[in-house]
Symmetry: D3
Subunit: 293 residues, 6 copies
């Protein structure tokens, strides 16, 4: 893998042509082979980049412009079709490289399992790491029908690694009874249904700590993000999600990386899902990357 | 019609294989022949069952699991294409049978007219019956262009049968002027635009009474349920609808049956409509069936 | 162009057959040749008329029926494909004619640039004109990549003509930094993100003044209006938009014309966008036209 | 019903404004209440008219222009939703009127059952009537699950009325074994799979006779007409269907009426089905109406 | 795995309720984890069964009815998400069981790699096995980007196992240069572009031999089967494919099993792909199973 | 405009990174502002590149691989939205540059009008130029509703420039009567309905001459290319089009440039249209570019 060459495919709007000079790096993880319901998130990263051309460069939420941040679009990691373990190993090694170079990683999924190797790499660099997780689903399973590498397990793996008390989940509205019980018993911070209000309460507690932000697009209601594998009614609006990102941007946490996963374009004829996803990435660039300094 | 055999088609997730041992029975009413605008709800029951495979068995709303309730999926009533009167007769006879066996009926529509024979059967068993009706439309017409058997008439027929004061409509945002006036004059309980807030006020008044709950999926805004025949902007969110069901579950009314109608899958490429519908059915099973005891 | 003949194509539901006797006139402006992203709004006017057949004639929001207002549907202005300047000239001349006849114009777009010649005509008749503008986008550019005739410029042109202090924009959540700064510097009234609350505060200040209302359908969140060219997450609900129209109807401003633009049906498989658009037109007829007297 | 007024809805391109002066009349029969599989053909007539705007007025197949034929578009017959018998009665009475006025009827379906009352009216005027039927399906059932009024019965009813030897079916590739056997036994002329070749052989035998042409759009392969209720692979191309119409136009049969049925737009995102249907109607106007003289 | 119980999900139309009494068994292989382009064929088997309800029970191609053949629908093999090797092992064991019971297997894919373990099982029972393969693609790779378990390798594996001279591929129009060269060098029978004509020439040579038929739906042109992962223009019509099956049915080969793979419903809004697939399965039942005797 | 830099967006599969070393250049002309019916071809070039990733590099039609030809993908010409004249000027200047550098131009449309400035540039270099034109439409109008810059005029302009006898149109099945008559009178070579057969007869006459090939994707039947603006039933198959390109490749004409226009992805949910388009571009590279030598 080479980080030092311009990517010859589609790139996120206004991305910087030079890797060395960039503080953040956008990369895709086009993997969907462990999803149990509707596949297709492998096409998420490409489509998010494609529709980013429709974005304004200025955000009235963050009051900042894309030209104020240098970010390089490194393209997709060439993950091997159908081989989950090798894919995860490649991702971890890739992030190790980015972090060694001092970059702020911005990942585009792909299924949620791709966040697991990123978190492993993050934790090696930041032993005090906390995780902000926005999702409709707990993702706290040990395995899915016997398979430990599954898109319903990454947050459990993260809890086991960095300690459940360092993991904060928001917007959760689906999972097994055992998952909710386990979260309660071990002191993991799981907030049901809402994101903005509990986040406001949590952020001051995380002041000064390195935080990784992982967003499953299905934290949004299906009305706002129909293009994903597992639709779960009762979700938040895109307005609430945008306000939540502003809340993080204005807090004293030190965001050290972020990802956005589970965009599956084929289920969304109007393309509103990749379009809202590209806007979230813009807000991450404008509001969260600055926290890396 | 036989209730005593396992249905050989698609079944709702985790449905019980034995009719006798079940307290509730799911059945489909695949009829759409009197709709005046966009047909297709005949495919609602089948698609709701198909996508139910994506549901978690546990509800964090009701804090209960599907295995705690025994419900049998009896498949669809084989209604004759294009013959409304015979279809309604078959439905009424079918519900008579279910009630005679002490079952809690959970109906899947189909157009809203199918609720009318169910209510007739219900009223025979429960003379003190009240109706909770969630819908975008009044459905209070006497006829539609001269046709008394129409999907815009079932609530009027229900009012005439059980008395308008025993009917509570929520979320209404469309109808003829005469319908709204009639509702007011006869003392029917019609709440415009909202569901949760007025429901909270009404439920204590219905404490102890047998209540039938009929939900037209178009009570949801088209953003949350585009797959239905008559889209009506200005509706409630799926979050509000789920909260309303929790409200009923926690109240002292005695729910004796429920239905969910007007899901027309063909208008919804992402399948968010049958998916939210299958979640509502899960909440009915977990939150309303227990009230039958 | 003849206003005096019944239009032989599709007409908006319950439109009056006679031009002379009508107080309002619905007309289409099927132009989309300057849009920079996704074209297709040329088919908006036709589809809005087609789905209007599904509307109830009574509005529970305005408590009024369509038969209480006489409005004529004049069909589409036959704009020349690909020729922006000639199209705008034709529209201005058309509106001059309508205003000379004392009609209340209700325009169906088409891209937002079509509002510009309408505003010019309006201002000639009402020198004290104010504009209420609901949109996701500022539309305050001087030009788009050098082209002064662009769908991102109409509000800037309007400010230049009638004075920026007479222009009130609501729901804005996208634009260039320079546009937001310019608005602030010149005292234009630009309200970000929300519509209903700031509108409530603004309306008393406009009491008695002639007001033109221009609505870009993308002021709605993509969840509520996926069928438009430039989707912008974080928008308002259709419920908020309907409430805003009621607010205007109940105020003391004197609405003298209105338009609804940027409906592009091809991106919306469920047709929820033209359907909500037809409902908005109904509310304009019932709530805003009366203000013309 | 009035034939003497201009229709105020959408009209087929270049239709003549005056009923009296027209030799042919286009009318819609928006009925789909007896279909056993996928409904939606009620929207066929409207959509065929809408897309007819994209047609060239000249046909290189017939070497003739639309302005050479006077045809009036009378709009849709206002059929009562869900009432099959009354709908059929209205259609028969309508056609009686058209024939009394000496018009050539061109019907737009709707389900295929609508052709039955048209054929009844035709036979009253032309006792020597023969029928050319292009379809994927035999439509020779006596009833469908006990229901004699079904979209799978019209050709059987026609055979019973005018004699099976006067009915010629082409392109048939689906039906019950009994239907194929019955056709053989009674001497009905049923040609499997192909249309053009057997038609060429049949036409000389029908020289001079009055012929009614009824076309189910599903005679085309689903590749050419995905927007219909019952897709049946193995069909003919649109090229073969167009050549078949030329064959009829150049023959010595005396066509006295025609219809095209079963266009259900919602299943066809690209609109290729209503578009090919509008072209077939143009060819009927240019190639078959002339035979009426 | 139990073969001895009725499947409780969706079943193929008219399937027999009893495994023991059936001569053929339909089973699904819902696996798509090694596809390199568009996933989604995991939903193929379920949707093929669902739309089979629209099929007539009689085939005018084979002149035979479904009730003349006893076939059991065993549902889907519960393959583990994302684990290719274990999936293939399960399929092979499953087919071993079917063959031990003397059943004729009819497989529904899923990606084409699922045919590989079936062929392995077949070859154990029939050492003289020949393969008739209809496909757009050669599928003769040794591996795909290093991965030997890939949907582009099954025919190569089959050649290696049973000898390339015993493999007959038809309709091929896509592959690497090396694949075509290899086929030529080793004497494999690869026919480009067409199916029916070369098949007619080949069948007499295979008279009396046991033959396994594997059909990739993409042998059809995208016009006839848009719902598949890898669309390849220049394909055959559904008419040619149906005629090819008749050709096999009327030949003297002894078909001992068959499959149909790569139906991915989400890419086909009109559902023409699962519908033509269900018709092909009907023809396999009526025309190929009889050959098993 | 710079030809000498690698394009940073999506590129056609296996395109060469170096402009100077390439013999052919792919470039996009994303313009659709003069189309009279359904716009959207501005997104054709981007989508054709995107789906080209699914192509095999070897063509069994041409028996040649992409690595045997050096072609550079120069991205899209940045045409100004809505300004037809300036767009055409930019294209002509662009092609002048390519031809001056000795490149073989391969254009991706965009509406068909973009071919006009290309032909102008071609004719300046090749005074003996002939044109092979494959299309459903004559495109022989002088203007469209008064507008001389229209997508229905490019072939007329070409005839006027290079002489009608040097223009060969194939597959034509739509146009005004006057256009067909004019073609006949002036000796233009217009072949109706078919492509392959007349092309075989024409090619020997063009031996040795420089030929520009312009293909409107709607020469294909809508079954094979639903994603275009103006669908015209009765077209050829993709198989016939591919065979026609082989015919040209094997002839003695000297192809000096080619384009493929009118791909409008939004109307094609399955993406079969951009996919067949990318295959045609591959065949042009492999079969036509070699003729440039």
């Amino acid at each position: 893998m080479r980080f030092d060459e311009a990517y010859s495919g589609n790139v996120f709007i206004k991305s910087h042509p030079n890797y060395e000079e960039s503080e953040a790096v956008i990369y895709g993880m086009p993997m969907d082979w462990t999803v149990s319901f509707r596949p297709g998130s492998r096409f998420g990263p490409g489509r998010i980049r494609e529709v980013s051309i429709g974005l304004e460069e200025y955000s009235p939420y963050m009051d900042r412009e894309l030209e104020e941040v240098k970010y390089f679009d490194a393209g997709d990691i060439p993950l091997p079709f159908g081989n989950a373990q090798r894919s995860l190993d490649m991702i971890e090694e890739y992030i190790d490289g980015l972090l060694a170079d001092g970059k702020f990683p911005i990942g585009l999924g792909g299924e949620h399992l791709v966040s697991w190797p990123v978190i492993k790499a993050m934790y090696k660099k930041y032993p005090d790491l906390a995780i902000i997780h926005m999702d409709a689903h707990t993702d706290l399973r040990d395995n899915y029908e016997g398979e430990p590498l599954s898109h319903s397990t990454p947050i459990k793996k993260a809890c086991d690694l960095i300690g459940p008390k360092n993991v904060y989940s928001f917007g959760i509205r689906s999972g097994m009874k055992e998952e909710f019980q386990w979260a309660k018993e071990v002191g993991m911070n799981l907030f049901k249904f809402d994101v903005h209000q509990p986040l406001k309460e949590v952020l001051p507690k995380l002041a000064g700590r390195p935080v990784y932000v992982t967003i499953d697009i299905d934290v949004l209601d299906p009305a706002h993000a129909p293009g994903t594998g597992t639709l779960e009614a009762g979700g938040i609006t895109s307005k609430e999600l945008l306000a939540s990102l502003v809340e993080i941007a204005n807090s004293d946490v030190k965001v050290v990386g972020a990802d956005l996963v589970e965009v599956a374009p084929v289920y969304d004829h109007s393309e509103q899902t990749p379009i809202v996803a590209s806007k979230i990435i813009r807000e991450i660039i404008l509001g969260l990357v600055q926290k890396n300094k």
